[in-house]
């Protein structure tokens, strides 16, 4: 469903962060992308989210080049992609409920569906009792669970999680990984970037290793190796 075809990214200062990347992500996969800081993982994610455009090559979602999508098509594409960030990026002046409802409102969902689905998804991430808390009233792990709930609320085809456990303690890390695994088990494709060897090894799924902007290893059922 996702295709990187000879993709390179070079910034104006001449820094080449991605170099001729070609890879395919199939529907229903859970893919971990690992690598040192500066290996190009986050840039790869930014290209997937169309936050940045490649210098060369094409990134496709099914048959669509995502970097040539028009405004409305881009909005539709982004609604098919749920995203979870290391720093959570919740909207600070909205409650947990409102942060999740916002994604549904933006997608034009009916009020009744929002009233039904948001408490349900908060229950899934075990935060129903804190649905009216603002982000600053929640712990890091709780904020990340709200972010995951927001990412899955519109039933996206892919979840992209960029270092989702980077700011969390081991217990919360375990919880978040279990949630992502559960989401994948229900059929959603998950792309996860991480530094955490324990996560990658415990998942036992596909691992793509990056180094200096290149894919150096792509294992179907791999371990964290660098």
């Amino acid at each position: 469903m996702l295709y990187f075809d000879r993709v390179s990214k070079e910034y104006q200062d001449g820094n080449k962060v991605l170099d001729n990347i070609s890879l395919t992500v199939h529907k229903g996969e859970l893919v971990s992308i690992v690598g040192h800081s500066g290996a190009g993982k986050t840039t790869l994610i930014k290209l997937l989210l169309a936050e940045e455009a490649p210098t060369e090559g094409v990134v496709s979602f099914y048959s669509d080049n995502i970097h040539t999508l028009s405004g409305n098509d881009m909005v539709k594409y982004r609604r098919k992609v749920g995203v979870v960030f290391q720093d959570f990026r919740l909207i600070p002046n909205k409650t947990a409920y409102e942060n999740i409802a916002f994604a549904m409102e933006a997608a034009g969902k009916h009020d009744d569906d929002i009233a039904h689905d948001v408490p349900h998804v908060l229950d899934l991430v075990d935060l129903k009792s804190k649905m009216h808390h603002f982000p600053h009233q929640l712990s890091g792990g709780e904020q990340q669970r709200v972010a995951i709930a927001r990412a899955i609320i519109n039933r996206p085809e892919i979840i992209i999680a960029d270092e989702p456990t980077g700011n969390l303690d081991p217990l919360n890390t375990y919880d978040i990984v279990q949630i992502l695994k559960k989401i994948n088990d229900l059929g959603t494709t998950v792309i996860l970037t991480t530094h955490n060897k324990g996560i990658v090894d415990s998942l036992g799924r596909r691992v793509i290793t990056m180094e200096d902007g290149r894919v150096t290893r792509d294992q179907k059922s791999g371990k964290f190796t660098m």
Binding site: V75, R78, R79, V83, R89, I91, N93, E105, A106, D111
Partner: protein, 308 residues
């Protein structure tokens, strides 16, 4: 669907306004200052126009007739003057009235009054006071009244003198002052309007800068540009509504105080009454200016962060 979208945008705007109190209050504060500057200019312009009108009313050109001039001749000149497009009004003063006015004016000057009584006949002739629509037109009127111009015709011999040429320097000075103050006023207004626009734009830009990361997240979760912009527009309209109300509430007692202090200086102009008479016009203008300024500023400021 569209009604639901509008409801969500309006609700989000009100919620954002309420929850971001610091940003809302600082934006309202700056906008109130801007609208106060506009109101002060509006009132200043009214006072200035009123004062100039008062001065203009006091300027006239008088056509003095000889004592032998007949009523028909005076009446003929009056109707010809009224036929001129530059003339606003013509007031007739009879010879008898001129004598009475002179006596009143010199009531304390017994010597002059005695000298006047020595004369067998009234030494004053009738006169016409001509007020032009604009002070710059007096010269043109005076030229048309000059002998040989054809306007006076047979009545030319009945005209003793026209006092424009004695007043010419004063009228020219007045014209220069009016022209100069109009030009300065115009450029000052432009300057203040531009400054106001910049102040409001920068305030809104700073307020929205705080939300730049949120806007990026909204884009990434699939919100359309309209869905992101909408609440900011609603908040801007709320800023304008409240700032307009505060400005009007401040200026009402303010104009009462200024009126008490200046009613003599401005020759009877009641600024508070003017403010009350033009309350809805001024309020509408301030609200429109506030909405246009804040909405355009917020649309421009948000646009920058929508480019992802």
């Amino acid at each position: 669907m569209r009604a639901s979208l509008t409801k969500r945008i309006v609700t989000a705007g009100f919620r954002g306004f309420y929850r971001n109190k610091t940003v809302s209050l600082s934006s309202i504060f700056i906008l109130t200052i801007t609208l106060s500057i506009i109101t002060a200019f509006y009132l200043f312009h009214a006072v200035f126009t009123y004062t100039l009108d008062q001065i203009r009313e006091k300027v006239d050109v008088r056509v003095y007739f000889t004592v032998d001039a007949t009523d028909e001749q005076v009446s003929d000149v009056k109707s010809k003057l009224l036929g001129l497009s530059q003339v606003k009004s013509v007031t007739y003063t009879s010879a008898t009235q001129a004598l009475a006015d002179f006596k009143v004016k010199h009531a304390g000057d017994q010597l002059t009054l005695q000298a006047l009584d020595e004369l067998a006949a009234n030494p004053f002739g009738a006169s016409l006071s001509v007020v032009a629509k604009d002070t710059s037109q007096y010269e043109s009127i005076a030229n048309q009244l000059a002998t040989g111009s054809g306007l006076l015709g047979d009545a030319a011999g009945a005209v003793d003198k026209i006092n424009y040429y004695q007043l010419k320097d004063s009228i020219d000075k007045l014209n220069n002052i009016i022209g100069w103050t109009n030009t300065v006023g115009f450029w000052l207004s432009i300057l203040f309007i531009l400054m106001s626009c910049m102040i409001v734009y920068n305030t809104i830009r700073l307020a929205i800068f705080v939300y730049r990361d949120e806007i990026a997240v909204m884009k990434l979760v699939g919100a359309s540009n309209m869905f992101i912009r909408g609440p900011f527009v609603v908040e801007s309209v709320l800023y304008a509504l409240i700032a307009t109300a505060i400005t009007l509430a401040l200026f009402y007692p303010g104009t009462i105080w200024v009126t008490k202090k200046t009613v003599i200086f401005f020759e009877g102009m009641n600024i508070n009454q003017y403010f009350v008479d033009h309350f809805f016009e001024l309020g509408g203008m301030l609200l429109l200016a506030g909405i246009v300024l804040t909405v355009i500023s917020s649309l421009l400021a948000v646009r920058k962060y929508l480019k992802i």
